[in-house]
């Protein structure tokens, strides 16, 4: 996972967002464990 561990000092604001190509996203009540594409 590409996140960095935060320091012990609490940050005043935490805000991140990641984006990707949504094509090929998703099922409903079933999850496939191999790669998305």
């Amino acid at each position: 996972m590409k996140t960095t561990k935060r320091s012990d000092a609490k940050r005043p604001i935490i805000a991140t967002r990641k984006s990707c190509n949504p094509n090929g996203t998703g099922l409903s009540h079933y999850v496939m464990m191999d790669s998305k594409k």
């Binding site: 604001i13 967002r17 990707c20 996203t25 999850v31 464990m33």
Partner: protein, 469 residues
């Protein structure tokens, strides 16, 4: 189709937050000692603000400036995600029959007891139609998913085997099974071919499982399912679904313990879908299921800390991902419109096409027949439009809910069958309120990775990282 986020008509330039055409930022108590949530419901943008810094954060400064610069991009991203994806997966029922009579099944009892298998030749013919359709709609090289689903799909083993043989290169296959039919040798066949396998087990206690999942004459299937789980131990493309009802919710902590002991790495703790009366009879109250569900999540984190081995609860992981990377979701129930009819659809054992398998028992949602109608036309029929057009902006109280794009007001089948229409909510509003708050608390404390797959963000790029304050 666009939403309020991108369809601006007032004269306001949108320079101010929370007025005119400015972005909305709703504060949200997440139950954390130090942080409040701040969410733009239209763009699914969020921030966690130290409680004593909220005034500063909402005053002109670098935080608002950075978000203002990205807000239009995030709004467009949500619109693309919500309205512009095309189907890439199919729930395929190769039989109407099931050897079990589960209390909450969304398929009518008469079908499961006396229904037909789709003949092997028809299954192959259907897959050929689907293959050609997806070749015309998906990017070159993209493999769509076919999930053999039920009823109990493995009862039609011969057809499944023929499908894997002929179309193994064309599709990524999955099977959702009750885990009581296949032999060890048949599981070996599935594993050798890399077929994704989902099993269903609702509890670690036989007697509780048997209350809702049982044979037609009421006998236990527990031992057979546990044997199947043991057979699949270590197979990476395998998961277990626990359907949470009023009968088993008290045992959710013990259930995740059992799954973890059994080597399961991914499970789903799906609240029972209340499409049919049998499910509604055992529907837990929101506040009750929520309490046990969150306790089970707590337990998965403890297990990870104790063993360094995760048990990912996929439906919760999906909420976390919906917050951190909205388009990277793996499941499409928790967004509106949901994935039914737009990222996947369902094919019944006679070739009829429905937006989702939840609708297979509801004739009004039959959009046509795979063998007689063009798929592209089926996707545009009124029954499909009812589902693909259902959006939270048209539902009360969702239209004013801060977490509406982390929830999606699932499920349309429940809204229609249980609550009276597509403009109604689904069954478990409060459970979603609680899950989002729980997820935000994890993020605030940097504990969220214990609840996610290692590679969940592999195909993503970071588009916002606050670098102020």
């Amino acid at each position: 189709m666009t939403t309020a986020a991108t369809d601006r008509c007032a004269s306001s330039r949108g320079l101010q937050f929370n007025t005119g055409n400015g972005n909305t930022l709703q504060p949200l108590d997440i139950g954390h000692n130090d942080y409040l949530g701040l969410v733009d419901p239209d763009t699914a943008f969020w921030a966690l603000i130290q409680k004593d810094k909220l005034g500063e954060a909402l005053s002109p400064g670098p935080f608002l400036q950075q978000y203002r610069e990205k807000a239009a991009e995030f709004a467009a991203e949500m619109d693309r995600f919500r309205f512009a994806v095309t189907p890439s997966a199919v729930y395929f029922n190769p039989t109407e029959r099931c050897n079990l009579n589960c209390s909450y099944c969304y398929l009518p009892e008469t079908l499961r007891q006396d229904g037909r298998h789709m003949p092997t030749a028809e299954v192959l013919s259907a897959l050929e139609i689907l293959k050609r359709y997806f070749l015309s709609t998906l990017p070159a090289g993209f493999k769509p998913q076919i999930i053999f689903h039920g009823a109990e799909p493995t009862l039609n083993w011969e057809a499944l085997l023929a499908a894997f043989d002929r179309y193994g290169d064309a599709f990524r296959f999955g099977v959702q099974s009750n885990g009581t039919v296949l032999s060890d040798d048949q599981y070996d066949v599935l594993m050798k071919r890399g077929v994704a396998i989902g099993l269903s087990l609702d509890c670690a206690v036989d007697e509780i499982v048997t209350r809702t999942r049982k044979t037609w004459d009421g006998h236990s299937i527990y031992a057979k399912v546990v044997h199947s789980m043991e057979k699949l131990r270590g197979y990476p493309n395998y998961s277990v679904i626990c359907t949470v009802t009023g009968e088993n919710m008290h045992q959710l902590v013990e259930t995740v313990d059992f799954f973890h002991q059994s080597g399961v790495s991914t499970c789903m703790l799906n609240p029972v879908r209340c499409t049919r009366q049998g499910a509604r009879d055992i529907k837990p109250a929101d506040q009750d299921i929520s309490r046990y569900y969150l306790a089970a999540l707590d337990r998965t984190e403890e297990l990870y800390r104790e063993t360094n081995r995760r048990l990912v609860v996929a439906n919760f992981a999906n909420i976390l991902i919906a917050i951190m990377a909205p388009q990277a979701r793996r499941l499409m129930c928790d967004i509106s419109p949901c994935g039914g009819g737009r990222s996947f659809f369902a094919v019944s054992a006679n070739g009829d096409v429905f937006p989702c398998s939840e609708f297979i028992g509801v004739p009004a949602f039959n959009g046509g027949n795979l063998f007689h109608d063009r798929i592209g036309a089926i996707l545009k029929t009124p029954p499909f439009k009812l589902v693909t057009g259902r959006k939270v902006e048209d539902i009360d109280p969702c239209r004013r809910c801060a977490v509406r794009h982390f929830c999606g007001s699932p499920c349309p089948a429940e809204a229609h069958q249980m609550n009276g229409g597509m403009d109604r909510t689904g069954a478990f509003c409060e459970l979603y309120e609680d899950q989002v708050r729980y997820a935000m608390r994890l993020i605030a404390d940097d504990r969220h990775s214990a609840f996610l797959w290692d590679d969940w963000d592999r195909d993503t790029t970071t588009t916002f990282e606050l670098n102020a304050c």
